[in-house]
Subunit: 258 residues, 2 copies
């Protein structure tokens, strides 16, 4: 089947850290040539959609606009709006995270409250401190709803696999004896948000990514077909072990017939 909408992961799929994946650019060129809609579905919450698009465009020569970028920050903001039936102005949040997350959440109009918020949202925060963990812990113990942006335990940087959002969130899960409600991949929440926000039919969409545990599981959870590309995390050996296989597999994205 020919897919009408592509949801595409970034790191390991469109590039590897600072390194280009030339086959990924060919794939995007092919989508553009046929006028097929595509969106980048990333678990990055630290950057704004504009920053993510600029990185693709300027550093990887992959054309991207801010409104083609879907992040757990945006999906979390929508989740919170929905929680309060759009009456966000009369509710409050405390957020542990970078500007990408804070700008999305507080962009809804929800108030900032450090001591008695209705919801606590925890994501990756390179400036996290004990004080922030204490505020989050006390607020959740007081009854605030607990959202974790995404469960990724690690992310790669030039020094190695450093702590990801899931690790930061796990501290608060331990200190509150509560599990967070997660929004990012592999949860279907981010896909459902994308389908609604970008107005596409999940039945004719394809989730493309290199990581079985986030990208492919997200597609599976949201009933969206999946394409695993072997340019990143998951290996043939990993996939052989999985009971539910990706809908499609390809060595590199230039080989995929859009």
């Amino acid at each position: 089947m020919k897919y009408q909408t592509y949801l595409i992961d970034l790191d390991g799929t469109m590039y590897r850290g600072k390194d280009k994946i030339p086959e990924a650019k060919v794939f995007i060129d092919n989508l553009n040539a046929k006028g097929i809609d595509y969106y980048f579905l990333t678990n990055n919450t630290t950057k704004t959609p504009q920053q993510v698009a600029d990185n693709l465009t300027n550093n990887h020569q992959i054309s991207a606009k801010a409104d083609q970028v879907v992040t757990p920050s945006l999906a979390t903001a929508a989740y919170v709006k929905n929680m309060f039936d759009d009456d966000v102005e009369n509710h409050s949040a405390y957020v542990v995270g970078e500007y990408g997350l804070k700008s999305a959440v507080f962009g809804t109009g929800i108030k900032l409250n450090e001591t008695n918020p209705d919801v606590v949202i925890v994501g990756l925060d390179y400036d996290v401190t004990y004080h922030k963990f204490e505020l989050a812990t006390l607020a959740i113990k007081r009854g605030a709803f607990f959202i974790g942006t995404n469960a990724d335990t690690n992310l790669p940087n030039e020094r190695g696999l450093v702590p990801g959002a899931g690790s930061v969130i796990s501290l608060v899960e331990t200190s509150t004896q509560q599990k967070a409600k997660y929004i990012g991949k592999p949860e279907r929440d981010i896909m459902d948000f994308a389908a609604k926000a970008k107005n596409f039919d999940p039945k004719t969409a394809l989730m493309v990514g290199d990581n079985y545990n986030t990208d492919i599981k997200c597609g599976i959870n949201a009933n969206v077909d999946t394409l695993l590309v072997y340019t990143g995390v998951s290996t043939h050996e990993d996939i052989a072990k999985q009971e539910i296989k990706p809908t499609h597999e390809v060595e590199s994205l230039d080989k995929w017939d859009v």
Copy 2:
């Protein structure tokens, strides 16, 4: 039986935060009157033994000397010395924690190494940052042995139940996909350390505390008799549910015949 050595918990047993427990002072006076040895066995790693003793003496009128205080910081330092057969000078550690922990660990003579240590020790750190978590994570992933001082998920302060060492450690356990080796109560390591350092016979010792999950379990794990006092965390209802009961139970410590 009359016990020859008492191991005594602090918060909930000797005092409640800043509040005195007058019956606890009576108990200590009784021990002193009979010349019975006693040590304070606390999971506090942030303070030095001298600071702990000064707090008891000055704020609670309970006479205590620094060498009567046993902490996971001291037990961890001894554990590390033993790991390297006393050849600590040729080994290195990275420590996430307060001065109480750092002074004990580096007091052994072990070198500080942030990037390639032999051992990473994580405890409660009120100034913890992402950078410290990153250093700990990378070092453990590189092969450093991972020690957690104590597993307490929370500790009480005037604002509520804030994150404890166990919460801080859980972040690193998640980011490294490894469990820490724990030293503090309820592990027997701290009791074995105390018996060796203070030269007492565990068979004639009694562990006294208010918390079944730390104090009493520590005694059980180390084959030391236990006395639960109902002035703190554990309730009669909690104890009724436990399969292994404390050896003794008492409403307040003045009622205990030393």
